[in-house]
Amino acid sequence: MPQTSFRQPSVLPGFGLTFGFTTFFLSAIVLIPLAALVLMAASMQWSEFVRVVLSPRALGSYRLSFGASLLAASINLVFGFIIAWTLVRYEFPGRKVIDALIDMPFALPTAVSGIALASVFAQNGLLGHYLSLFGIQVAYTWIGVTIALTLIGMPFMVRTLQPAISEVQRELEDAAETLGAGRIYVFRRIILPTVLPAMLTGFTLAFARAVGEYGSVIFIAGNLPMKTEITPLLIVIHLQEFDYQGAAALGFVMLVISFAVLLTINVLHGWGRRHLVATAH
């Protein structure tokens, strides 16, 4: 058992055993495999790496993957707020069931939501049929990709916003209204500043999940190169052609961009909190 200043003394036993086991398992399942990816990408020649990750097909897939994910997270920003607000503030028949159902996209396997969404939004599908009357084609277009990503991001937004909305102080709202503030003013100056950090967190989580999503997208996307092909699918195609280096290069780029987005929004989050607290006073 390590008896250095690495850890503080305790009467409880088992640190050596559990720490050793955790470290071993973590290394075997997570860290060594991730290192394999980085090493594989690093073993490429620089020019080859650039050729793969900046190929027109790859650029087209980034545009779709990141664009649709941003759009889906933005849609969730609006509707996720409305749903969370409704669930926290209003009593209506079936509220508890709806509240439990919010987690459905977490629990439902992505292949199931994939084929179900593709059927619902196909041209002869339950909803796709009506949308096609207006000339809107959802399945096999970027709209379908966005809808799938909206569904799987929704729980992140709602679950992050619910506790934040329940923390909004009703007394402040009432006081503001008594003093003559309109609903919109109350929303903008009292509700929004309280829930904004949670909105940013929810947005980040929904976006991060959407960028890497595969199962629920490939059935509703047309999977045409340059048009409806997401980056994860392009990685799969590289792997099927036994081009491991190409796949690793694209995977590496996705990991770097995802971590950069998470980091940026964390920084923004901290800044926003200070800024909003400053203006509120």
């Binding site: 009593e91 992505t110 595969y214």
Partner: protein, 290 residues
Amino acid sequence: MAASAIPGAIPDELAHRPGRDTWLHVLVRWSLIGVSLAFLAALLLAPLATVFVVAFGRGIGTYLKTFGDEDTRAAIGLTLTTAAVVVPLNTVFGLAAAWCIAKFEFKGKSFFITLIDLPLAVSPVISGMLFVLLFGAQGWFGEWLQDHDISIIFALPGIILATMFVTFPYVAREVIPLMQQLGNDEEEAAITMGAGAWMTFFRVTLPKVRWGLLYGIILCNARAMGEFGAVSVVSGHIRGLTNTMPLQIEILYNEFNFVGAFAVASLLTLLAVLTLIIKTLVERTGYKRR
């Protein structure tokens, strides 16, 4: 960090407040409820209904015939096998990780926790690819494995490894904060009074964290049985051998066997519903996710 459900009813003074029943308030309230319900109906309920409508669309006989198919049965068996290996291992890992993180203070702890959460930030496809890069034909150990006639990729070990990666943090991230919150006092008392380490763990700690543990296990199981992207990359899609239920759904769907695809999907949907019911019941015991 993602979720914190709010069980129970809304307090009366919040739901029905005097002075809040002007026509404008009522209008706003019901518009927002309407928008929420419409959004969820289109994105969530319509797809869920479609699963069962298509699965039973040609009668219950056709539905049941799907499960007479040998490849489909093999897929169900493989999914159950995978979950039976992955869930216990990740449970033991989660408990070990929680014990060393919650019971002791050591340097770099928060970094350690970040590393455990890492798989949540990785795309499923990339998760599967990691093991192809290690053990695939052109991977780091590909040649050695081939020389020794060991197959990991396109075989059961690869499926288990990929599933383990994606479900890795599920138990740990429920149990760690719970154990931290509940503190060490009872364990320290038990040890000081002469109880052994294992007795303390099984008689003191485990009962304290049982609901959080159950919560983590059911989420881990749901993801393990439903994982598609990661498993799809390592499986090789060999019928009757390396197809799990989600992969079998894909194959049936791409063959335009919609009844079959949705029949298998209906089983996984029921699993998801069951998971949510258990989850709601656990939350009812007062256990709250942080």
